[in-house]
Subunit: 342 residues, 3 copies
């Protein structure tokens, strides 16, 4: 479990306020999940539903959305405990991932690249001609940033990330290890029974505060741009094909695959391994359930489930009926026989 070594009062300073119930001088030695936290640990209660369960916790201190009466330890009352806890985790992450500043001598940064203030570039990383790296960004070892590509300020490219040419991203971009941004989409023309490559020479445009998971692939457009809107989060091993237009604050969970030219509206959620066929539109705020596949457009706000995806309540009824399908079949046979006999 991670070390913290801050007093509850210092924790209050770190998370930006809150009311302490108990001793502000209590030393939070470490962090732990609610169920395993001990008397020297700080933990948190995600929301009101867990308050009762938390009363019996052995944690030394808790971040809570409202004071818990029966709880024996110390409490810091905040409006959004998970978000506050996230700030503490960010502090721990910062410590654990501290990088040596500057450009490592074994990095290859082109003289015509533009490197901001306070940038870290690890060994083996390559920054090509006319690429730009914003202030305070970190490129880990063996990262590749292609010609004319730009990442904004305070971005992090984890080891072995590949961003190819002509990709433009905003500030605070995080790309996890091994992800590939800007490979050519799957485009072929059929000519005399052979597949002729259609080179993909478009670009990718990524907004601020985007996070891309490990080993995810975002393909460049054929001639226009593949776009990923501000605040959108893409999970590990996910695939966004060429010419997709993904809106803002979209959640694309791990192993999701978007086919070519798909449009995803703002705040839509694609759960684990969801997918789509080419050219469909997932409406604003729509939800596509885990492993569900949209072969047609999904209306804004709709909640769809199954493969092919159907309105969730219908899909649930279908699945329930399916479990009785063999029985239905026997029943149908019995009815026919009775009808024939009568």
């Amino acid at each position: 479990m991670p070390r913290l070594d801050l007093t509850l009062d210092e924790v209050r300073g770190l998370v930006g306020g809150g009311e302490i119930v108990g001793d502000p001088g209590f030393l939070c030695a470490g962090l732990a999940p609610l169920e395993s936290a001990g008397p020297r640990d700080l933990s948190f209660v995600k929301d009101r539903r867990y308050l009762e369960a938390a009363a019996g916790s052995r944690a030394g201190a808790l971040l809570v959305p409202e004071p818990i009466d029966g709880f024996a330890g110390h409490q810091l009352v905040v409006t959004a405990p998970l978000a506050a806890f996230a700030r503490i985790l960010a502090r721990i992450a910062e410590e654990a991932r501290r990088q040596p500043a500057g450009i490592h001598p074994a990095a290859e940064v082109h003289p015509a690249a533009k490197i901001g203030e306070g940038v870290t570039v690890g060994p083996g990383a390559v920054v090509r001609e006319e690429a730009e790296v914003g202030d305070g960004s970190v490129l880990y070892a063996n990262v590749y940033l292609g010609q004319r590509s730009r990442i904004g300020r305070r971005s992090v490219l984890w080891p072995n990330v590949v961003i190819l040419e002509d990709v433009v991203a905003g500030d605070r971009l995080v790309v996890h290890a091994g992800a590939v941004i800007g490979a050519e989409g799957y485009g072929y023309a059929q000519l005399d029974g052979r597949h002729v490559k259609v080179p993909q020479v478009g670009s990718i445009v990524i907004g601020d505060d985007v996070e891309i998971g490990a080993l995810a692939t975002i393909d460049r457009a054929t001639i226009a741009s593949t776009t990923i809107g501000r605040g959108t989060k893409v999970g590990d091993l996910a695939h966004v094909a060429h010419n997709c237009r993904v809106g803002e604050d979209v959640l694309i969970l791990p192993t999701v695959a978007l086919s070519g030219s798909v449009t995803v509206g703002d705040r839509a959620i694609l759960a684990g391994r969801a997918g789509t066929s080419d050219n469909v539109t997932i409406g604003e705020g729509a939800v596509l359930g885990g492993t569900s596949v949209a072969f047609r457009d999904v209306p804004p706000g709709a909640v769809m489930w199954g493969n092919p995806a159907r309105e969730k309540t219908l899909e649930i009824r279908i699945q329930a009926a399916l479990a009785r399908l063999p029985e239905m079949q026997r029943e149908l046979r019995r009815l026919r026989r009775r009808l024939e006999e009568s």
Copy 2:
């Protein structure tokens, strides 16, 4: 949008002929998709179905399969507009991706490797003993080419591609960033309740004109060879397991997974996230729909859909019936009651 800056007559030269309707001296400043092309852009009409829609396009010039009567701009009439357009894209790609020739001083090329004429090897790339790289090939940064592996002429290995030992590929191989060719397949023997590794020491043989997507994995055979036939195209994040035998001109779309020892006939198409179980054969020219999974052999020319995959027309009828399944169930209950009452 990409710059072009060629006259229509120069475009005709580039695509290898065609008939100009309009001004051969018209300057095509850029390329754009049909729907967004402006008066200085060149665009294209994929095939005859789109001719009518194209008549109203604002594009300055169009590649067309036959002259459009009402179109206000200039036209270049060619037999296969998409393939012709692909040649123009190839010229743009060539410009955008121009590499410095030669072996970068930070590359590790073994003295016993054989490097052809006009080869580019980027920084951090490793070429192991007895490996061979054909004339005019490009190895981007941090590529790994294993012992005794060979790639043919005019091939491209994008950054961080890993080709392990004893992989033999033809000419014009393209492997996109981060793909892994030659990892060991998933092979274990069960002994006293433990899983004992069965080392995979076979090879991979890849024909000419093969393209492998970003972060795809092609596993080596146990003792013989995994094979990928000439002209076959494998998409991003696709998986070809050990001992597979994939034919020529096969389309394996992104996120498809072939299990061990699968045979795929020439010109078969496996759409996005299609899959198979071990040892099945997908017949020549067969089509397996998106997310469909073949647990049994697919006959040549068959079009299969669903999980488990069924003949497509049957699967469509099943899916239509499924949407009415809860209603069928109620209907069945009503019928039984009426029969019991009568």
Copy 3:
């Protein structure tokens, strides 16, 4: 096919015993699969079911579980032919993959890292501060081993593997090319309609004899540990999300995806592209079929199939009934009409 060049008697020594039926001096020139083995090749008969088929093999010599009467070549009788054959393959693999010992001058090993005896570190590999590499381990080119991470003895990290900070693994760990261990899980808190990152600062603990496939992702825990038990084998492109607890001797086949906080019991098997939703438990020894998805807990020893996963025998009956569903629907319509007419 791989060369062997050992006499049958030497093969007996290599596999640790067995009884020779035929000439101990017979030279096994190469290895080949049973169906393609020639008179100079050694092959093997996996188990008793294949004995009859093997009698007609053209192989020069066979590893067999019991002597085959009609077989013309030489035989080595062993209790577990596949496991014995695996030892021969291991010898061939050792030859084919021999690495130069020592730390390559183009590797970046931090002075505060702890490197065991007889370790190989390839060019471009990075070993960060306080990382530890056990005796006899091999890190191929461009591998990244993060701060404070430890791998045990005789481990192999193939090219471009990324192990981030605070990952602790046992002996004989094998990680195939490009896999990423220790990326942050997909964790966000919702605050004012935006997704706020919950940094993942936990660790990963991996037992002895674990193997991780190419381009697989194992995510670190939020604050505790993601765990992979001794002897567990994870396939290519598989995904193990944050906070998962995977038992011992588990088989996670290629392209399987475990969602967050999933528990998998010892000796469970998740077949190709199987999946789960968050927080489910797959019981000890349970089997989840290919492409099957567990939305609920799977009891120990259960065999589940389908999406959503159901008890296998039920799922088989459902799938059989489904093929007749359009016919059932017509039948139901006929019955209703007859009932209405009567």
